[in-house]
Symmetry: C2
Subunit: 361 residues, 2 copies
């Protein structure tokens, strides 16, 4: 802990502190002689510059903050990984904050990050606008929203357009003969919760399926609410024959709920979940998912943030999503007989058909 300072390096090298500093920070205005002497002195003393002092004098800390809503959610764990890797590649360290789905804790963490003068913040916000988030903008701290956005905050964002994947999923289930699709939704306080729900209802009506509001259960992106959702939906007098779940953690809960009730996944009930998680393919039967690239999201977020830090004003990025069909939604079940009028000939050219390919994996 009794750290070595540049002063001692300079003394050992027989040069001034200024020269030592120049050599160590790669300033070209140095003679080969002093370069060599300082380099060897620094190596001998195993000198590590004090990042605090450096950050205090210079403008940069070379640190960025990543604030996610729940690290235990595999989606955000993956995001943390890619962000950290991408940042590291550019010489930045990542301060990881975990809001733990609490707006309070998020605000406290934002304050800490501001105090530490991180060069920028990547934020997957929980809840709506808050004082601390407004403070970010007011202080012109480079900020990029990831996965979720907040209305009225004009910072760049990188999000997934769930529409394409959800449309594919609904059409896929409709093609399998399902007319009553249950939906376990994310919280309407989050942008992804709202957007995915809106896409679902739109696609359901477009495909002439039941838009019974009882078929929608509002969860909170945590496992427990997935389980609760399954029970609520299957307790209906006219239960759904297929299920769309808005995120991976709720899908985990939903699967547990099905186990509890002895309902066989892919046989008694078809299921598709948002978010691709590696091991979803290992379930028996394998789980159909709406996939989107976490890795690309993380890399893009870092890219955008670096641009903002450099004074740019990059445009927001929207990444695609797509359906991956596996056994959990294969049309092997015996869905309710199509008493509803046979679905009209599937409109092949969907309104804004982008990413309409269905990958089978």
């Amino acid at each position: 802990m009794n750290a070595i300072t540049i002063r001692e390096v300079a003394a050992l090298a027989g040069v001034s502190v200024a020269t030592a500093s120049r050599v160590l920070s790669g300033n070209p205005a140095t003679s080969p002689t002093s370069r060599a002497r300082v380099a060897s002195a620094a190596a001998e003393l195993d000198f590590r510059p004090n990042a605090q002092a450096r950050a205090l004098r210079g403008a940069r800390t070379n640190a960025l903050g990543l604030l996610v809503s729940d690290v235990r959610n595999p989606f955000f764990a993956d995001l943390a990984h890619t962000v950290e890797q991408a940042a590291n590649l550019h010489g930045f360290v990542t301060l990881l904050g975990n809001a733990n789905e609490s707006a309070d804790q998020q605000d406290r963490y934002l304050d800490t990050l501001i105090s530490r003068r991180v060069d920028g913040i990547i934020l997957a916000p929980v809840g709506a606008e808050s004082d601390s988030i407004r403070a970010l903008i007011a202080r012109e701290i480079p900020t990029v929203f990831v996965d979720r956005t907040i209305a009225g905050m004009d910072a760049p964002s990188v999000t997934t357009d769930g529409t394409a994947g959800i449309r594919q999923a609904v059409e896929h289930l409709a093609a399998g003969g399902h007319t009553r699709i249950g939906y376990i939704s994310g919280p309407q306080a989050s942008s992804t919760g709202r957007d995915r729900f809106a896409a679902f209802t739109r696609c359901v009506t477009e495909n002439g399926l039941s838009a019974d509001p009882a078929l929608v259960y509002f969860g909170d992106y945590q496992a427990a609410s997935g389980s609760a959702g399954v029970h609520a939906l299957l307790d209906l007098s006219e239960p759904p024959t297929a299920l769309l779940v808005a995120d991976s953690l709720m899908a985990v809960g939903a699967i547990a709920g099905l186990h509890d009730r002895g309902v066989r996944l892919g046989v008694d009930l078809a299921m598709v979940a948002f978010d691709d998680v590696e091991w979803f393919a290992l379930l028996n039967p394998a789980l159909s998912v709406i996939s989107h690239s976490v890795a690309e999201m993380g890399r893009t977020a870092v890219d955008l943030l670096l641009q903002v830090i450099d004074g740019g004003t990059p445009a927001s990025v929207v990444l695609p999503s797509e359906l991956i069909v596996r056994a959990s939604s294969a049309p092997t079940g015996t869905p309710a007989p199509p008493s509803s009028p046979p679905t009209p000939p599937t409109p092949f050219a969907a309104p804004t058909a982008s990413h309409n390919s269905v990958r089978t994996h």
Copy 2:
């Protein structure tokens, strides 16, 4: 980014910088009057003290580093979560580093953490001793090893004693009639890899089971090696009828490998994995595991680190492990007929019997 300094707060409050500092850092030597004036001035300007400057002058940074070998490994994701929560509770932020199973990247991260003068480091080391790790000790930077240790480094550690859980697992499988148990091991370069392997071989001979070296496959704690291990072991002329896998990621790979081969888990082959992961219980059949508490490990690591920071020299902590039996190892299969001499009456009093209870979950 044009940050507000304590100077401006002092000016607005009509006091000196010294007084402002005292008020803001809770020094009691202040009058109620100036306390009020400074507080309101700070609030009005939305002042956030510069943590760099504070750390430069004082001795503390109130930051700690957590360096794990792979954040995508659910075990370490959980660990990151609990460490971050525990640290946050004590007013510390966590700098998360990810070595990505690369000793090089681990060393680079350690250098960064040293440069940033974190108050302490929690390290799940990858590989053996390195220059950067020695530098930690040489600089007397408070360090705690977690999950894995490094021989010859006398820093406190918090690890799991896998022996009890492995003994329970081997006895459980033996009781199910299995005599040839395959083992997919972690790398022998890591302490957990060595310890668990040693425990396994010991228990196997103690129970009079086959100690055929061909039954052991050495993986690297990544998913792919689990799959490779399954293929290698099942390709043997005398394949095992049960499998013990040394960590969760390799277990995931192993399950995928079983899928590939059409081998039914829990029916054609019994399996137990080290590390409890929430969704292992959701698999069909549910996976038997050797469980140990990540949460307790994370909290303990932070506790120990804080003690070291405060000048203490706490003893290392070893946490227990225990078997949780689920369907994947239930004795429903038809293991190879016990051609080997019937297992000797199970020695009920195992040599160092601690945590011998078997929990069914």
